[in-house]
């Protein structure tokens, strides 16, 4: 009996035939599993961090992040053989192009690798790996239970939402992150199971890790002046977001050029981070302690040192992730944001009287929202994440300002967010409700027309005229009589003058008047590319060729019919 059979029985027994109920229950299951994964990772990082802390008196402690990153790379590349990366772009790719299909190994691989990287001191966050894990759990549960693609995507979202909700104890942020960043659409069909999964994930996280807000609540009362100051902070966070995104991206390229194995690169990168950490231990690990101190106004170093630590944190994050360490940008982004906020406040205090403003801890919150909104270009995610993890609803107005402005300014410098830039450049991003989305679900083979009459290279013009009488098409493929290979195409519009000249009937062969190199497409061409080609050369139909074999024609008319049908299917749901 396969898991699918068991699932089939379960469906019948527990009245799960109603698909929405089934989806809800599956969402709860995915949420619970993601919650356990998030709690497990959190515990593992905490314990490894404590273990490594025992070695902090030794001179060789700086190699620990290197060892952790190398082991992480070894695990990812040699043991589980994952394609490297922090995971979120892979989830978005799976959602937008692959019906939410994710590999089973992804449900645990990033957990182990990020634990090794972060627990040993690498500067990265556990959130993206746990999102990857949760999403893969959702996808694999959907696969085992035989859910269709649209429900599988929802369950991927359930896993992502529950992971964020559990690790941050932030249910709303989980939902918003999933809808804004991962799925890119807000529909009632998605929101309900994702919301339920988020609740389940949060509750499991609370049961296993305790119900504590990540950064305990501090009361702030921001006023009008703070809202005004928020605009300046938004600009600062936008610039820092752009810088951090570019640093991480270019760091990957620079480290990629190093003539060494992936493991050696990760070791060297981690050791460099460890060296910086010898002098500035604040930059190591996920850095939540720093955020705590900054929010509570307990961070004593002066402005210059603060700026130096901010710069170093950005550098070590780029080094950790670029050299091959495993982890995400959430936690470093929050740390960088809180440093930026406090640095901005202290800069203001040098220039103006800051008595009317809220304390600097409030600006740490605003900075976090600004960086998250900027890097992810998802203003609501940054906003609700900060509100959730600090319980700081009273700061909502300046938070909205910082998050929205930072996101908008970032869009000016970077057309796409950190997660989407490479994905979009490679054509891997297709958002719901777009023309591309509809076409993506259609294949060339589905719209192929076979009602063509093939000619061969021995046929004369007279034969062609004979075939024209019985054909409803204007195109005739010419095939080699021996090998059946495609030789060219006869387009009636182009050969019309010959058709009325009876003298040529017996003397002219079809190969003499055919188009020898007609524009053609291959069977695995994307239909968006096919349509683009048709528009460019002003053609209404194109031959489909595989190797030297003619498979059929693809035409705009048939394509439109299929497009409409697919659009109805996609929008009815």
């Amino acid at each position: 009996m396969t898991p699918k059979n068991i699932a089939g029985m379960a469906k019948r027994l527990f009245f799960l035939r109603h698909e929405k109920v089934a989806l809800l229950l599956a969402g709860v299951l995915v949420g619970c599993c993601s919650g356990v994964a998030a709690a497990g990772l959190s515990f593992a990082i905490e314990h490894l961090w404590e273990l490594c802390a025992h070695a902090k008196h030794y001179w060789w402690v700086f190699v620990l992040p290197g060892v952790g990153a190398a082991l992480s790379s070894l695990f990812l590349n040699k043991i589980v053989r994952e394609g490297a990366g922090h995971g979120v772009p892979e989830i978005i790719y799976a959602v937008s192009r692959r019906g939410g299909l994710l590999r089973f190994r992804s449900s645990f691989s990033r957990l182990v690798s990020s634990c090794l990287t972060i627990g040993s001191g690498g500067s990265a966050g556990p959130e993206a790996p746990v999102v990857m894990s949760g999403s893969a759990i959702g996808s694999n549960i959907a696969q085992r239970l035989g859910f269709p693609a649209r429900h599988r995507i929802t369950l991927v979202g359930c896993g992502a939402a529950a992971a964020i909700a559990s690790i941050f104890n932030a249910p709303i942020a989980g939902i918003v992150f999933t809808l804004e960043v991962v799925l890119g659409e807000w529909t009632a069909v998605n929101v309900i199971p994702i919301g339920v999964a988020s609740v389940a994930g949060t509750q499991v996280g609370r049961l296993l890790m305790g119900n504590s807000i990540r950064f305990s609540h501090t009361h702030f009362s921001p006023g009008t002046w703070d809202i005004a100051a928020a605009f300046g902070l938004a600009l600062a966070t936008a610039l820092i977001s752009v810088a951090l995104s570019r640093m991480i991206r270019s760091s990957g390229k620079v480290w990629g050029k190093l003539p060494a194995s992936k493991m050696s690169r990760a070791f060297v990168g981690g050791a460099c981070v460890g060296l910086v950490g010898l002098f500035f231990p604040q930059v190591l690990g996920e850095g939540y302690n720093q955020i705590y101190s900054l929010i509570h106004g307990q961070y004593s170093p002066g402005l210059m040192l603060l700026c130096a630590i901010l710069g170093l944190k950005m550098l070590v994050t780029a080094t950790t992730l670029g050299s091959g360490g495993s982890g995400g940008i959430f936690a470093p982004g929050l740390v960088v944001g809180s440093f930026t906020g406090v640095a901005y406040f202290r800069l203001l205090s040098l220039m103006f009287d800051v008595t009317p403003l809220a304390p600097e801890g409030c600006y740490a919150l605003l900075g976090m929202a600004g960086i998250m909104g900027g890097m992810l270009q998802a203003p609501l995610t940054g906003l609700f994440l900060v509100v959730d993890i600090t319980s700081g609803y009273e700061v909502i107005l300046p938070l909205i300002v910082v998050s929205l402005v930072s996101s908008s300014v970032c869009r000016y410098f970077e057309s796409d967010s950190f997660y989407l830039k490479d994905l979009k450049a490679e054509g891997g991003l297709i958002r719901p409700g777009t023309d591309e989305r509809v076409l993506e679900d259609l294949q060339v083979s589905e719209v192929l027309e076979h009602n063509l009459i093939p000619l061969n290279n021995h046929m004369t013009l007279a034969d062609l005229v004979g075939q024209v009488k019985s054909s409803q098409r204007n195109h005739f493929p010419v095939l080699d009589v021996k090998t059946s290979e495609f030789l060219g195409m006869i387009d009636l519009a182009k050969v019309r003058p010959y058709l009325f000249n009876r003298e040529l009937y017996g003397t002219v062969l079809v190969v003499d008047i055919m188009d020898h190199f007609p524009p053609a497409v291959s069977p695995d061409e994307r239909l968006t590319d096919v349509l683009e080609l048709m528009d460019r050369i002003q053609a209404f139909s194109l031959p489909v060729i595989s190797g030297k074999r003619f498979l059929g024609m693809v035409s705009k008319g048939t394509l439109l019919d299929h497009y409409r049908r697919e659009l109805i299917v996609q929008t009815t749901y």
């Binding site: 009996m1 394609g83 299909l101 891997g428 595989s546």
Partner: protein
Amino acid sequence: MVNSLLHVFRNNAFGRETFMQSLYFCKALDFTLRVYIPRHSKFLMYFENEVTQVDLDQSYLSDPDTAQEHVEALAKEAGVSVDFLTPKDFTASTLPDVPIGFDCMCSPRSMSDKTSRIGLGYVGPKVRRIAAAAPFPVLVTSLCYKPWNSVAVFFGGSANAFKALSMGLSLSRRSGMPLDLFTIEEGDVNRETLDNLLQVREMTSVVEEGVREWYFLNKSKLEDNLYEIPPDALTVLGAYGHGMIREALFGSKLEVIQSQIINNMMIVGPKCRVF
């Protein structure tokens, strides 16, 4: 409609044997040959409800500069035109997605293991997963090039066996080679019940016309019956139609057959469509 076969090319002597098998298949059945020359050590195949990662043995990547030359030379010699497949989509920068819109895939017994490990009795886990999930059959080749002159279908009356039978009939019709049916008699699997099943599915006349000989093998051990299979036949068998638990308890005929015969095998999985 022109059908196509996918071949992942391994650029060494063993890979040549497998490739020649693909060429023979394409020529015999008038298929187009799509060849993927790997540039990365792994690739993904996204099926309808499953994604399979194939981690290739390093020998697949040896000397990629000559791989295309080798393919072209062998194809030219065989008189088969080849279309090289270049993946357009990548899940990660080193993880290409190989499309699945083919009618058949040719594979050695394992794609992830060193050639020294591949032998009778061993079908690699990735080949199994592809066969179980793919909408096309998998042509598992003999260890060295072995042209086939007839088609032998194992037919026991299950849903998958009917699919294998249809596939065998199609192979026979397209290649013009004779088709033989082989039934291992056990329990209620006998001529009478199978005739009834064929009648229910309205396939009696098709089988009568398309099958040269129907053999009923009744030795108690499955292995002993396999001596009757012609050595130059392409064997077609349905597989992975049963659940994991049933297979674990009662074993799988595929396992016994693949460990005993050296013929080329076409594995028809539960999601396979007949061309």
